[in-house]
Protein backbone atom coordinates (compact mmCIF):
# COMPACT_ATOMS: atom_id res chain seq x y z
CA UNK A 1 0.00 0.00 0.00
CA UNK A 2 2.61 2.50 1.10
CA UNK A 3 4.94 1.26 -1.56
CA UNK A 4 2.20 1.80 -4.11
CA UNK A 5 1.60 5.32 -2.90
CA UNK A 6 5.27 5.96 -3.01
CA UNK A 7 5.53 4.75 -6.55
CA UNK A 8 2.58 6.84 -7.59
CA UNK A 9 4.20 9.86 -5.99
CA UNK A 10 7.49 9.21 -7.70
CA UNK A 11 5.86 8.96 -11.06
CA UNK A 12 3.32 11.74 -10.98
CA UNK A 13 4.02 15.35 -11.75
CA UNK A 14 1.62 16.58 -9.10
CA UNK A 15 4.11 16.79 -6.29
CA UNK A 16 3.41 20.47 -5.62
CA UNK A 17 -0.24 19.58 -5.15
CA UNK A 18 0.69 16.96 -2.58
CA UNK A 19 2.83 19.51 -0.80
CA UNK A 20 -0.15 21.85 -0.75
CA UNK A 21 -2.32 19.16 0.78
CA UNK A 22 0.32 18.44 3.38
CA UNK A 23 0.68 22.11 4.17
CA UNK A 24 -3.09 22.46 4.38
CA UNK A 25 -3.38 19.62 6.85
CA UNK A 26 -0.56 20.88 9.02
CA UNK A 27 -1.94 24.39 9.01
CA UNK A 28 -5.43 23.18 9.90
CA UNK A 29 -4.03 21.82 13.11
CA UNK A 30 -1.80 24.65 14.17
CA UNK A 31 -3.68 27.71 12.98
CA UNK A 32 -6.93 28.82 14.50
CA UNK A 33 -9.50 29.72 11.87
CA UNK A 34 -7.55 28.14 9.04
CA UNK A 35 -9.81 25.18 8.58
CA UNK A 36 -13.10 26.99 8.31
CA UNK A 37 -15.65 27.50 5.62
CA UNK A 38 -14.98 31.21 5.58
CA UNK A 39 -11.29 30.75 5.14
CA UNK A 40 -11.73 28.23 2.39
CA UNK A 41 -13.87 30.72 0.54
CA UNK A 42 -11.19 33.33 1.09
CA UNK A 43 -8.59 31.00 -0.27
CA UNK A 44 -10.67 30.35 -3.32
CA UNK A 45 -11.37 34.01 -3.97
CA UNK A 46 -7.78 35.04 -3.46
CA UNK A 47 -6.69 32.27 -5.74
CA UNK A 48 -8.85 33.02 -8.74
CA UNK A 49 -7.49 36.31 -10.08
CA UNK A 50 -3.97 35.10 -9.49
CA UNK A 51 -4.68 31.91 -11.40
CA UNK A 52 -5.99 33.86 -14.35
CA UNK A 53 -2.99 36.15 -14.50
CA UNK A 54 -0.55 33.27 -14.01
CA UNK A 55 -2.06 31.20 -16.80
CA UNK A 56 -1.38 34.04 -19.19
CA UNK A 57 2.15 34.31 -17.92
CA UNK A 58 2.58 30.56 -18.37
CA UNK A 59 1.80 30.82 -22.06
CA UNK A 60 4.37 33.56 -22.52
CA UNK A 61 6.97 31.62 -20.57
CA UNK A 62 6.30 28.53 -22.65
CA UNK A 63 7.58 30.44 -25.66
CA UNK A 64 10.74 31.26 -23.74
CA UNK A 65 9.64 34.81 -23.01
CA UNK A 66 8.61 36.63 -19.88
CA UNK A 67 6.03 39.31 -19.26
CA UNK A 68 6.96 41.75 -16.53
CA UNK A 69 4.33 44.21 -17.68
CA UNK A 70 1.34 42.34 -16.28
CA UNK A 71 1.27 44.62 -13.25
CA UNK A 72 1.05 47.72 -15.37
CA UNK A 73 -1.55 46.03 -17.54
CA UNK A 74 -3.65 45.44 -14.46
CA UNK A 75 -3.24 49.03 -13.32
CA UNK A 76 -3.89 50.65 -16.66
CA UNK A 77 -6.88 48.55 -17.58
CA UNK A 78 -8.25 49.08 -14.10
CA UNK A 79 -8.22 52.86 -14.38
CA UNK A 80 -9.21 53.04 -18.02
CA UNK A 81 -12.06 50.61 -17.53
CA UNK A 82 -13.15 52.31 -14.34
CA UNK A 83 -13.21 55.72 -15.92
CA UNK A 84 -15.47 54.41 -18.65
CA UNK A 85 -17.81 53.00 -16.06
CA UNK A 86 -17.67 55.51 -13.26
CA UNK A 87 -20.74 57.65 -12.88
CA UNK A 88 -18.35 60.53 -12.23
CA UNK A 89 -16.94 60.47 -15.70
CA UNK A 90 -20.26 61.53 -17.09
CA UNK A 91 -20.32 59.25 -20.07
CA UNK A 92 -23.84 58.61 -18.98
CA UNK A 93 -24.42 55.08 -20.18
CA UNK A 94 -26.92 53.06 -18.28
CA UNK A 95 -25.18 50.97 -15.64
CA UNK A 96 -25.32 47.55 -17.25
CA UNK A 97 -24.33 48.90 -20.64
CA UNK A 98 -21.43 50.71 -19.11
CA UNK A 99 -20.39 47.55 -17.28
CA UNK A 100 -20.20 45.79 -20.60
CA UNK A 101 -18.33 48.61 -22.23
CA UNK A 102 -16.04 48.91 -19.24
CA UNK A 103 -15.06 45.25 -19.24
CA UNK A 104 -14.64 45.34 -22.99
CA UNK A 105 -12.38 48.34 -22.76
CA UNK A 106 -10.32 46.69 -20.06
CA UNK A 107 -9.77 43.59 -22.14
CA UNK A 108 -8.87 45.72 -25.14
CA UNK A 109 -6.29 47.60 -23.09
CA UNK A 110 -4.80 44.29 -22.01
CA UNK A 111 -4.73 42.97 -25.54
CA UNK A 112 -3.16 46.19 -26.80
CA UNK A 113 -0.32 46.10 -24.31
CA UNK A 114 0.21 42.44 -25.13
CA UNK A 115 0.32 43.32 -28.80
CA UNK A 116 2.95 45.98 -28.20
CA UNK A 117 5.05 43.50 -26.25
CA UNK A 118 4.62 40.73 -28.76
CA UNK A 119 5.46 42.84 -31.78
CA UNK A 120 8.51 44.31 -30.09
CA UNK A 121 9.74 40.84 -29.20
CA UNK A 122 9.18 39.26 -32.60
CA UNK A 123 9.26 41.85 -35.34
CA UNK A 124 11.84 44.05 -33.69
CA UNK A 125 13.85 41.23 -32.16
CA UNK A 126 14.10 42.82 -28.72
CA UNK A 127 14.72 40.73 -25.59
CA UNK A 128 11.45 40.04 -23.80
CA UNK A 129 12.79 41.01 -20.42
CA UNK A 130 13.72 44.50 -21.56
CA UNK A 131 10.61 45.01 -23.65
CA UNK A 132 8.28 44.17 -20.84
CA UNK A 133 10.36 45.96 -18.23
CA UNK A 134 10.09 49.17 -20.20
CA UNK A 135 6.43 48.72 -21.01
CA UNK A 136 5.91 48.07 -17.32
CA UNK A 137 7.56 51.37 -16.45
CA UNK A 138 5.78 53.19 -19.19
CA UNK A 139 2.24 51.96 -18.74
CA UNK A 140 2.21 52.04 -14.97
CA UNK A 141 3.60 55.55 -15.15
CA UNK A 142 0.96 56.25 -17.72
CA UNK A 143 -1.81 55.01 -15.45
CA UNK A 144 -0.61 57.19 -12.60
CA UNK A 145 -0.20 60.20 -14.87
CA UNK A 146 -3.59 59.69 -16.47
CA UNK A 147 -5.35 59.78 -13.14
CA UNK A 148 -2.90 62.08 -11.41
CA UNK A 149 -2.69 59.43 -8.69
CA UNK A 150 -6.41 59.59 -7.99
CA UNK A 151 -8.54 56.52 -7.60
CA UNK A 152 -11.66 56.19 -9.68
CA UNK A 153 -14.80 55.11 -7.90
CA UNK A 154 -18.57 55.22 -8.06
CA UNK A 155 -18.59 52.22 -10.33
CA UNK A 156 -21.92 50.73 -11.41
CA UNK A 157 -23.40 48.14 -9.08
CA UNK A 158 -23.67 45.60 -11.82
CA UNK A 159 -19.90 45.74 -12.13
CA UNK A 160 -19.27 45.55 -8.41
CA UNK A 161 -21.44 42.48 -8.16
CA UNK A 162 -19.15 40.53 -10.46
CA UNK A 163 -16.92 39.49 -7.62
CA UNK A 164 -19.77 38.30 -5.46
CA UNK A 165 -22.34 37.11 -7.98
CA UNK A 166 -22.85 33.47 -8.85
CA UNK A 167 -23.71 31.57 -11.94
CA UNK A 168 -25.67 28.48 -10.95
CA UNK A 169 -24.14 28.62 -7.50
CA UNK A 170 -20.63 28.98 -8.83
CA UNK A 171 -19.14 32.41 -8.11
CA UNK A 172 -18.22 34.40 -11.20
CA UNK A 173 -14.50 34.63 -10.35
CA UNK A 174 -14.39 30.86 -10.20
CA UNK A 175 -16.23 30.61 -13.50
CA UNK A 176 -13.79 33.04 -15.06
CA UNK A 177 -10.74 31.22 -13.78
CA UNK A 178 -12.10 27.85 -14.83
CA UNK A 179 -12.88 29.29 -18.23
CA UNK A 180 -9.38 30.65 -18.69
CA UNK A 181 -7.84 27.39 -17.56
CA UNK A 182 -10.00 25.38 -19.89
CA UNK A 183 -9.26 27.62 -22.83
CA UNK A 184 -5.54 27.50 -22.11
CA UNK A 185 -5.68 23.75 -21.67
CA UNK A 186 -7.62 23.34 -24.87
CA UNK A 187 -5.23 25.52 -26.84
CA UNK A 188 -2.06 24.02 -25.45
CA UNK A 189 -3.07 20.41 -25.71
CA UNK A 190 -5.32 20.02 -28.67
CA UNK A 191 -4.62 22.70 -31.22
CA UNK A 192 -1.93 23.39 -33.75
CA UNK A 193 -0.99 26.64 -32.11
CA UNK A 194 -0.52 24.80 -28.82
CA UNK A 195 2.05 22.51 -30.40
CA UNK A 196 3.63 25.53 -31.97
CA UNK A 197 3.95 27.28 -28.62
CA UNK A 198 5.92 24.40 -27.19
CA UNK A 199 8.02 24.07 -30.35
CA UNK A 200 8.90 27.76 -30.32
CA UNK A 201 9.89 27.53 -26.68
CA UNK A 202 12.10 24.50 -27.27
CA UNK A 203 13.90 25.75 -30.33
CA UNK A 204 12.92 28.73 -32.40
CA UNK A 205 15.11 27.78 -35.33
CA UNK A 206 13.72 24.29 -35.62
CA UNK A 207 10.22 25.63 -35.26
CA UNK A 208 10.67 28.20 -38.00
CA UNK A 209 12.21 25.73 -40.40
CA UNK A 210 9.39 23.32 -39.69
CA UNK A 211 6.87 25.85 -40.89
CA UNK A 212 5.73 27.22 -37.57
CA UNK A 213 4.44 30.76 -37.73
CA UNK A 214 6.83 31.82 -35.01
CA UNK A 215 5.99 35.49 -34.86
CA UNK A 216 2.27 34.89 -34.88
CA UNK A 217 2.56 32.31 -32.15
CA UNK A 218 4.60 34.52 -29.88
CA UNK A 219 2.43 37.56 -30.45
CA UNK A 220 -0.72 35.59 -29.65
CA UNK A 221 0.83 34.46 -26.39
CA UNK A 222 1.60 38.01 -25.32
CA UNK A 223 -1.86 39.16 -26.31
CA UNK A 224 -3.42 36.27 -24.40
CA UNK A 225 -1.27 37.16 -21.40
CA UNK A 226 -2.38 40.78 -21.63
CA UNK A 227 -6.03 39.77 -21.82
CA UNK A 228 -5.60 37.48 -18.83
CA UNK A 229 -4.02 40.28 -16.85
CA UNK A 230 -6.91 42.54 -17.82
CA UNK A 231 -9.37 39.88 -16.71
CA UNK A 232 -7.54 39.75 -13.41
CA UNK A 233 -7.92 43.51 -13.28
CA UNK A 234 -11.67 43.15 -13.78
CA UNK A 235 -11.92 40.92 -10.73
CA UNK A 236 -9.60 43.04 -8.63
CA UNK A 237 -11.30 46.29 -9.58
CA UNK A 238 -14.72 44.93 -8.92
CA UNK A 239 -13.66 43.53 -5.58
CA UNK A 240 -12.05 46.76 -4.41
CA UNK A 241 -14.84 48.82 -5.97
CA UNK A 242 -12.13 51.17 -7.17
CA UNK A 243 -10.07 51.73 -10.25
CA UNK A 244 -6.59 52.27 -8.94
CA UNK A 245 -3.51 53.31 -10.91
CA UNK A 246 -1.29 51.21 -8.69
CA UNK A 247 -3.42 48.12 -8.63
CA UNK A 248 -1.52 44.85 -8.62
CA UNK A 249 1.80 46.62 -8.34
CA UNK A 250 3.30 43.95 -6.14
CA UNK A 251 2.04 40.69 -7.55
CA UNK A 252 4.69 40.25 -10.19
CA UNK A 253 7.02 38.06 -8.13
CA UNK A 254 4.06 36.06 -6.84
CA UNK A 255 2.91 35.35 -10.37
CA UNK A 256 6.26 34.45 -11.87
CA UNK A 257 7.20 32.62 -8.69
CA UNK A 258 4.01 30.57 -8.81
CA UNK A 259 4.51 29.64 -12.44
CA UNK A 260 8.12 28.62 -11.91
CA UNK A 261 7.45 26.76 -8.68
CA UNK A 262 4.74 24.87 -10.52
CA UNK A 263 7.48 23.55 -12.78
CA UNK A 264 7.27 25.66 -15.91
CA UNK A 265 10.68 26.41 -17.32
CA UNK A 266 11.96 29.96 -17.53
CA UNK A 267 13.64 29.02 -20.77
CA UNK A 268 10.51 27.85 -22.50
CA UNK A 269 9.06 24.68 -23.92
CA UNK A 270 8.15 23.02 -20.65
CA UNK A 271 5.05 23.70 -18.61
CA UNK A 272 1.43 22.81 -18.02
CA UNK A 273 -1.75 24.56 -17.07
CA UNK A 274 -2.25 22.31 -14.08
CA UNK A 275 1.27 22.92 -12.84
CA UNK A 276 0.56 26.61 -12.77
CA UNK A 277 -2.68 26.03 -10.90
CA UNK A 278 -0.75 24.07 -8.28
CA UNK A 279 1.95 26.70 -8.10
CA UNK A 280 -0.58 29.44 -7.51
CA UNK A 281 -2.36 27.29 -4.97
CA UNK A 282 0.93 26.82 -3.18
CA UNK A 283 1.72 30.52 -3.05
CA UNK A 284 -1.80 31.47 -1.97
CA UNK A 285 -1.93 28.81 0.72
CA UNK A 286 1.44 29.90 1.96
CA UNK A 287 0.38 33.52 2.26
CA UNK A 288 -2.97 32.68 3.74
CA UNK A 289 -1.58 30.35 6.38
CA UNK A 290 1.26 32.61 7.38
CA UNK A 291 -1.15 35.49 7.54
CA UNK A 292 -3.44 33.68 9.96
CA UNK A 293 -0.78 32.16 12.13
CA UNK A 294 -0.01 35.57 13.54
CA UNK A 295 3.71 35.82 12.95
CA UNK A 296 5.32 39.18 12.68
CA UNK A 297 6.08 40.74 9.36
CA UNK A 298 9.72 39.70 9.11
CA UNK A 299 9.09 36.19 10.37
CA UNK A 300 6.47 35.72 7.69
CA UNK A 301 9.05 36.63 5.08
CA UNK A 302 11.67 34.30 6.47
CA UNK A 303 9.24 31.41 6.75
CA UNK A 304 7.91 32.05 3.26
CA UNK A 305 11.40 31.84 1.83
CA UNK A 306 12.21 28.71 3.76
CA UNK A 307 9.02 26.96 2.73
CA UNK A 308 9.67 27.74 -0.94
CA UNK A 309 13.15 26.33 -0.61
CA UNK A 310 11.89 23.30 1.24
CA UNK A 311 9.28 22.60 -1.43
CA UNK A 312 11.89 22.90 -4.14
CA UNK A 313 14.22 20.50 -2.38
CA UNK A 314 11.47 17.93 -1.89
CA UNK A 315 10.56 18.23 -5.52
CA UNK A 316 14.11 17.76 -6.67
CA UNK A 317 14.71 14.81 -4.37
CA UNK A 318 11.61 13.20 -5.75
CA UNK A 319 12.94 13.46 -9.27
CA UNK A 320 16.49 12.54 -8.42
CA UNK A 321 16.72 10.55 -5.21
CA UNK A 322 20.45 10.21 -5.76
CA UNK A 323 20.95 13.81 -4.68
CA UNK A 324 19.85 13.02 -1.17
CA UNK A 325 23.14 11.51 -0.15
Amino acid sequence: MIAQLKEHYQKSDNSILYLCVLYYIVMSFITPGFFSLGNNWNLLFNLMPLVIVSIGQTCVMLTGGIDLSITSTIALSSVVGASFMSSDSGLGFNPSVSTFIGIGVMLVVGAAIGLVNGVAVTKLGMPAFMVTLTTMMFFSGFAVWLTESQNIYNLPDSFLRISSMSMRDVPIPVVAALGVMLIAYFILNTTVIGEWIYAVGLNVKVARISGVNVDGTIISCYVFCGVCAALGAVLYTSRLETGSPIMGQNILLDVIGAVVIGGTSLFGGKGKVKWTLFGVLFISLLDNGLNLIGLSYFLIMIVKGLVILFAAILNVLKERPSLAS
Binding site: P127, M130, V131, T134, L309, R320
Partner: protein
Protein backbone atom coordinates in the same frame (compact mmCIF):
# COMPACT_ATOMS: atom_id res chain seq x y z
CA UNK B 1 25.65 51.64 -54.13
CA UNK B 2 23.00 50.05 -52.00
CA UNK B 3 25.65 47.82 -50.51
CA UNK B 4 27.88 50.71 -49.57
CA UNK B 5 25.00 52.51 -47.99
CA UNK B 6 24.07 49.44 -46.02
CA UNK B 7 27.61 49.10 -44.86
CA UNK B 8 27.96 52.64 -43.63
CA UNK B 9 24.68 52.35 -41.76
CA UNK B 10 26.03 49.19 -40.23
CA UNK B 11 29.23 50.93 -39.18
CA UNK B 12 27.31 53.60 -37.34
CA UNK B 13 24.99 51.11 -35.75
CA UNK B 14 27.95 49.09 -34.56
CA UNK B 15 28.43 51.43 -31.65
CA UNK B 16 24.80 51.99 -30.94
CA UNK B 17 24.85 51.74 -27.16
CA UNK B 18 27.60 54.28 -26.95
CA UNK B 19 25.99 56.49 -29.52
CA UNK B 20 22.65 56.35 -27.79
CA UNK B 21 24.28 57.12 -24.52
CA UNK B 22 25.92 60.11 -26.14
CA UNK B 23 22.59 61.13 -27.65
CA UNK B 24 20.96 61.14 -24.24
CA UNK B 25 23.77 63.17 -22.76
CA UNK B 26 23.66 65.68 -25.59
CA UNK B 27 19.89 66.05 -25.43
CA UNK B 28 19.98 66.80 -21.76
CA UNK B 29 22.95 69.06 -22.35
CA UNK B 30 20.81 71.12 -24.72
CA UNK B 31 17.94 71.25 -22.28
CA UNK B 32 20.03 72.43 -19.40
CA UNK B 33 23.40 74.03 -19.25
CA UNK B 34 23.90 72.50 -15.83
CA UNK B 35 23.96 69.00 -17.23
CA UNK B 36 27.26 69.24 -18.95
CA UNK B 37 29.31 70.48 -16.04
CA UNK B 38 32.15 68.32 -14.85
CA UNK B 39 30.57 68.22 -11.44
CA UNK B 40 27.34 66.80 -12.80
CA UNK B 41 28.99 64.18 -14.95
CA UNK B 42 30.97 63.10 -11.94
CA UNK B 43 27.71 63.02 -9.97
CA UNK B 44 26.25 60.66 -12.53
CA UNK B 45 29.20 58.36 -12.15
CA UNK B 46 28.99 58.47 -8.37
CA UNK B 47 25.28 57.80 -8.44
CA UNK B 48 25.58 54.90 -10.82
CA UNK B 49 28.47 53.29 -8.99
CA UNK B 50 26.34 51.23 -6.63
CA UNK B 51 24.04 49.97 -9.38
CA UNK B 52 26.95 49.28 -11.70
CA UNK B 53 28.79 47.25 -9.08
CA UNK B 54 25.75 45.13 -8.36
CA UNK B 55 25.03 44.74 -12.05
CA UNK B 56 28.60 43.57 -12.55
CA UNK B 57 28.03 40.71 -10.16
CA UNK B 58 24.71 40.04 -11.83
CA UNK B 59 26.44 39.89 -15.20
CA UNK B 60 28.56 36.97 -14.02
CA UNK B 61 25.44 35.09 -13.00
CA UNK B 62 23.54 35.95 -16.17
CA UNK B 63 26.47 34.77 -18.24
CA UNK B 64 25.98 31.27 -16.85
CA UNK B 65 22.27 31.48 -17.74
CA UNK B 66 21.44 31.90 -14.07
CA UNK B 67 19.67 34.69 -12.25
CA UNK B 68 20.02 36.16 -8.79
CA UNK B 69 16.89 37.75 -7.36
CA UNK B 70 18.41 38.07 -3.93
CA UNK B 71 20.87 40.89 -4.54
CA UNK B 72 18.50 43.53 -3.17
CA UNK B 73 18.15 41.56 0.03
CA UNK B 74 21.89 41.09 0.23
CA UNK B 75 22.34 44.84 -0.08
CA UNK B 76 19.84 45.40 2.65
CA UNK B 77 21.47 42.83 4.91
CA UNK B 78 24.81 44.44 4.25
CA UNK B 79 23.45 47.80 5.30
CA UNK B 80 21.77 46.49 8.41
CA UNK B 81 24.73 44.44 9.54
CA UNK B 82 27.16 47.29 9.13
CA UNK B 83 24.88 49.70 10.94
CA UNK B 84 24.41 47.26 13.77
CA UNK B 85 28.09 46.52 14.08
CA UNK B 86 29.07 50.14 14.17
CA UNK B 87 26.35 50.78 16.70
CA UNK B 88 27.84 48.07 18.88
CA UNK B 89 31.14 49.85 18.69
CA UNK B 90 33.07 47.90 16.11
CA UNK B 91 35.57 49.85 14.02
CA UNK B 92 34.53 50.82 10.54
CA UNK B 93 36.94 48.62 8.65
CA UNK B 94 35.81 45.57 10.57
CA UNK B 95 32.20 46.33 9.77
CA UNK B 96 33.04 46.67 6.09
CA UNK B 97 34.98 43.44 5.98
CA UNK B 98 32.24 41.60 7.82
CA UNK B 99 29.64 42.93 5.44
CA UNK B 100 31.59 41.74 2.43
CA UNK B 101 31.90 38.36 4.09
CA UNK B 102 28.18 38.29 4.76
CA UNK B 103 27.52 39.04 1.10
CA UNK B 104 29.86 36.33 -0.07
CA UNK B 105 28.33 33.92 2.37
CA UNK B 106 24.92 34.77 1.06
CA UNK B 107 26.14 33.97 -2.40
CA UNK B 108 27.48 30.72 -1.02
CA UNK B 109 24.06 29.80 0.32
CA UNK B 110 22.53 30.42 -3.10
CA UNK B 111 25.24 28.46 -4.81
CA UNK B 112 24.93 25.61 -2.34
CA UNK B 113 21.29 24.96 -3.11
CA UNK B 114 21.76 25.52 -6.80
CA UNK B 115 24.57 23.13 -7.23
CA UNK B 116 24.05 20.68 -4.43
CA UNK B 117 20.36 20.10 -5.05
CA UNK B 118 20.20 21.29 -8.63
CA UNK B 119 17.28 23.59 -7.89
CA UNK B 120 16.88 26.22 -10.54
CA UNK B 121 18.47 29.54 -9.58
CA UNK B 122 15.21 31.45 -9.92
CA UNK B 123 13.55 29.53 -7.11
CA UNK B 124 16.57 29.42 -4.83
CA UNK B 125 17.17 33.12 -5.08
CA UNK B 126 13.47 33.87 -4.80
CA UNK B 127 13.53 32.05 -1.48
CA UNK B 128 16.68 33.77 -0.28
CA UNK B 129 15.19 37.03 -1.45
CA UNK B 130 12.45 36.62 1.14
CA UNK B 131 14.64 35.15 3.83
CA UNK B 132 17.28 37.86 3.48
CA UNK B 133 14.88 40.74 3.67
CA UNK B 134 12.99 39.13 6.50
CA UNK B 135 16.20 38.59 8.41
CA UNK B 136 17.33 42.14 7.75
CA UNK B 137 14.01 43.48 8.96
CA UNK B 138 14.35 41.35 12.04
CA UNK B 139 17.81 42.71 12.79
CA UNK B 140 16.75 46.27 12.18
CA UNK B 141 13.38 45.88 13.90
CA UNK B 142 11.89 47.26 10.68
CA UNK B 143 13.33 50.64 11.44
CA UNK B 144 15.52 53.06 9.63
CA UNK B 145 19.02 53.22 10.99
CA UNK B 146 21.41 56.09 10.78
CA UNK B 147 25.06 55.40 10.32
CA UNK B 148 27.83 57.30 12.00
CA UNK B 149 29.68 60.13 10.30
CA UNK B 150 32.54 57.85 9.44
CA UNK B 151 30.56 56.10 6.77
CA UNK B 152 29.53 59.30 5.07
CA UNK B 153 33.16 60.37 5.07
CA UNK B 154 34.14 57.28 3.15
CA UNK B 155 31.42 58.04 0.68
CA UNK B 156 32.53 61.59 0.02
CA UNK B 157 36.28 61.26 0.17
CA UNK B 158 38.35 61.64 -2.98
CA UNK B 159 41.62 59.90 -3.74
CA UNK B 160 43.78 61.61 -6.33
CA UNK B 161 40.77 63.63 -7.27
CA UNK B 162 38.65 60.56 -7.93
CA UNK B 163 35.62 60.19 -5.70
CA UNK B 164 35.78 57.06 -3.62
CA UNK B 165 32.67 55.34 -5.04
CA UNK B 166 33.96 55.86 -8.54
CA UNK B 167 37.29 54.43 -7.52
CA UNK B 168 35.64 51.32 -6.14
CA UNK B 169 33.57 51.06 -9.27
CA UNK B 170 36.68 51.37 -11.40
CA UNK B 171 38.45 48.61 -9.54
CA UNK B 172 35.42 46.32 -9.70
CA UNK B 173 34.83 46.89 -13.40
CA UNK B 174 38.48 46.50 -14.25
CA UNK B 175 38.96 43.29 -12.35
CA UNK B 176 35.68 41.87 -13.59
CA UNK B 177 36.60 42.74 -17.13
CA UNK B 178 40.02 41.16 -16.76
CA UNK B 179 38.56 38.08 -15.15
CA UNK B 180 35.97 37.62 -17.85
CA UNK B 181 38.04 38.31 -20.90
CA UNK B 182 41.58 37.49 -19.95
CA UNK B 183 41.45 34.47 -17.67
CA UNK B 184 40.64 30.86 -18.29
CA UNK B 185 38.00 31.02 -15.58
CA UNK B 186 36.29 33.85 -17.42
CA UNK B 187 36.20 32.10 -20.75
CA UNK B 188 34.89 28.97 -19.08
CA UNK B 189 32.02 31.01 -17.66
CA UNK B 190 31.00 31.80 -21.23
CA UNK B 191 31.31 28.15 -22.17
CA UNK B 192 29.16 27.00 -19.26
CA UNK B 193 26.62 29.67 -20.08
CA UNK B 194 26.39 28.47 -23.63
CA UNK B 195 25.82 24.89 -22.68
CA UNK B 196 26.55 23.47 -19.26
CA UNK B 197 26.16 19.90 -20.47
CA UNK B 198 28.78 20.35 -23.16
CA UNK B 199 31.07 22.07 -20.68
CA UNK B 200 30.78 19.11 -18.37
CA UNK B 201 31.54 16.77 -21.24
CA UNK B 202 34.60 18.81 -22.06
CA UNK B 203 35.75 18.27 -18.51
CA UNK B 204 35.29 21.77 -17.17
CA UNK B 205 34.69 22.22 -13.45
CA UNK B 206 31.11 23.32 -14.04
CA UNK B 207 30.02 23.14 -10.43
CA UNK B 208 32.94 25.18 -9.25
CA UNK B 209 32.26 27.81 -11.86
CA UNK B 210 28.61 28.08 -10.88
CA UNK B 211 29.61 28.28 -7.27
CA UNK B 212 32.01 31.11 -7.90
CA UNK B 213 29.65 33.26 -9.96
CA UNK B 214 27.12 33.31 -7.15
CA UNK B 215 29.87 34.09 -4.67
CA UNK B 216 30.99 36.95 -6.88
CA UNK B 217 27.44 38.18 -7.24
CA UNK B 218 26.89 38.10 -3.48
CA UNK B 219 30.14 39.91 -2.90
CA UNK B 220 29.32 42.59 -5.45
CA UNK B 221 25.85 43.04 -3.98
CA UNK B 222 27.30 43.62 -0.53
CA UNK B 223 29.94 45.96 -1.92
CA UNK B 224 27.32 47.85 -3.90
CA UNK B 225 25.25 48.10 -0.75
CA UNK B 226 28.20 49.51 1.15
CA UNK B 227 28.90 52.07 -1.55
CA UNK B 228 25.27 53.13 -1.48
CA UNK B 229 25.04 53.52 2.28
CA UNK B 230 28.35 55.32 2.39
CA UNK B 231 26.66 57.97 0.30
CA UNK B 232 23.34 57.86 2.15
CA UNK B 233 24.44 57.54 5.71
CA UNK B 234 21.29 55.61 6.53
CA UNK B 235 19.51 52.35 5.91
CA UNK B 236 15.75 52.23 5.60
CA UNK B 237 13.59 49.10 5.48
CA UNK B 238 13.13 49.53 1.75
CA UNK B 239 16.82 49.83 1.03
CA UNK B 240 17.74 47.73 -1.99
CA UNK B 241 14.18 46.92 -2.98
CA UNK B 242 13.83 46.33 -6.72
CA UNK B 243 17.60 46.52 -7.06
CA UNK B 244 17.61 43.07 -8.60
CA UNK B 245 15.44 44.29 -11.45
CA UNK B 246 17.53 47.36 -12.02
CA UNK B 247 20.72 45.32 -11.94
CA UNK B 248 19.37 42.83 -14.45
CA UNK B 249 18.10 45.68 -16.57
CA UNK B 250 21.49 47.39 -16.55
CA UNK B 251 23.23 44.18 -17.57
CA UNK B 252 20.79 43.37 -20.35
CA UNK B 253 20.80 46.94 -21.56
CA UNK B 254 24.54 46.49 -21.87
CA UNK B 255 24.03 43.52 -24.17
CA UNK B 256 24.12 40.58 -21.78
CA UNK B 257 21.68 37.81 -22.59
CA UNK B 258 19.33 36.26 -20.07
CA UNK B 259 19.99 32.96 -21.78
CA UNK B 260 23.66 32.91 -20.93
CA UNK B 261 26.97 32.96 -22.73
CA UNK B 262 26.67 36.44 -24.16
CA UNK B 263 27.64 39.82 -22.80
CA UNK B 264 30.38 41.72 -21.09
CA UNK B 265 30.97 43.96 -18.13
CA UNK B 266 33.01 46.53 -19.95
CA UNK B 267 31.69 48.44 -21.72
CA UNK B 268 28.32 46.63 -21.64
CA UNK B 269 27.10 46.58 -18.09
CA UNK B 270 28.87 49.80 -17.17
CA UNK B 271 27.20 51.68 -20.00
CA UNK B 272 23.88 50.10 -19.11
CA UNK B 273 24.05 51.30 -15.52
CA UNK B 274 25.33 54.76 -16.40
CA UNK B 275 22.68 55.17 -19.06
CA UNK B 276 19.90 54.40 -16.63
CA UNK B 277 21.33 56.82 -14.11
CA UNK B 278 21.88 59.58 -16.67
CA UNK B 279 18.24 59.54 -17.58
CA UNK B 280 17.25 59.95 -13.95
CA UNK B 281 19.82 62.65 -13.46
CA UNK B 282 18.85 64.56 -16.58
CA UNK B 283 15.17 64.52 -15.68
CA UNK B 284 15.87 66.12 -12.32
CA UNK B 285 18.26 68.64 -13.83
CA UNK B 286 15.66 69.84 -16.31
CA UNK B 287 13.03 69.74 -13.57
CA UNK B 288 10.67 67.53 -15.53
CA UNK B 289 7.13 66.92 -14.39
CA UNK B 290 7.44 64.12 -11.82
CA UNK B 291 4.60 62.22 -13.44
CA UNK B 292 6.57 61.95 -16.64
CA UNK B 293 9.61 60.25 -15.12
CA UNK B 294 8.54 56.66 -15.63
CA UNK B 295 7.10 57.46 -19.04
CA UNK B 296 10.26 59.04 -20.32
CA UNK B 297 12.55 56.50 -18.68
CA UNK B 298 10.54 53.62 -20.09
CA UNK B 299 10.37 55.10 -23.55
CA UNK B 300 14.05 55.99 -23.74
CA UNK B 301 15.24 52.58 -22.57
CA UNK B 302 12.82 50.96 -24.99
CA UNK B 303 14.33 52.99 -27.79
CA UNK B 304 17.85 52.06 -26.84
CA UNK B 305 17.02 48.38 -26.76
CA UNK B 306 15.17 48.70 -30.03
CA UNK B 307 18.06 50.29 -31.86
CA UNK B 308 20.46 47.85 -30.33
CA UNK B 309 18.44 44.88 -31.50
CA UNK B 310 18.12 46.29 -34.99
CA UNK B 311 21.87 46.55 -35.03
CA UNK B 312 22.12 43.02 -33.76
CA UNK B 313 19.99 41.79 -36.64
CA UNK B 314 22.37 43.51 -39.03
CA UNK B 315 25.32 41.99 -37.28
CA UNK B 316 24.00 38.47 -37.56
CA UNK B 317 23.58 39.02 -41.25
CA UNK B 318 27.09 40.30 -41.74
CA UNK B 319 28.64 37.67 -39.53
CA UNK B 320 27.29 35.01 -41.80
CA UNK B 321 29.18 36.62 -44.61
CA UNK B 322 32.37 35.66 -42.87
CA UNK B 323 35.09 37.82 -41.43
CA UNK B 324 35.69 39.60 -44.68
CA UNK B 325 34.43 42.90 -43.32
Amino acid sequence: MKVIQARSIRKVLDHSTLILFAAIVITFGFLSSQFFTFQNLSNILIQSSSLAIIATGMTFVLLTAGIDLSVGSTMFLAGVVSAKMVAWGSPLWLACVTVLLVGTLYGLVNAFFIYRFKIIPFIVTLATFYVGRGFGLFLSETRAMNLPEGFLKIGSVSILGIPFPVLVLGVVILSAHLALSKTQFGRQIYAVGNNAEKARKAGMPVDRILLSVYLICGFCAALGGLVAIAQLGAVSPTFGKQSEFMAIAAAILGGTSLFGGKGNVFPGTLIGAVTIQSIQNGLVIVNANPYLYPLITGAVIFLIVLIDSLRHMQEVKSRRLGASF
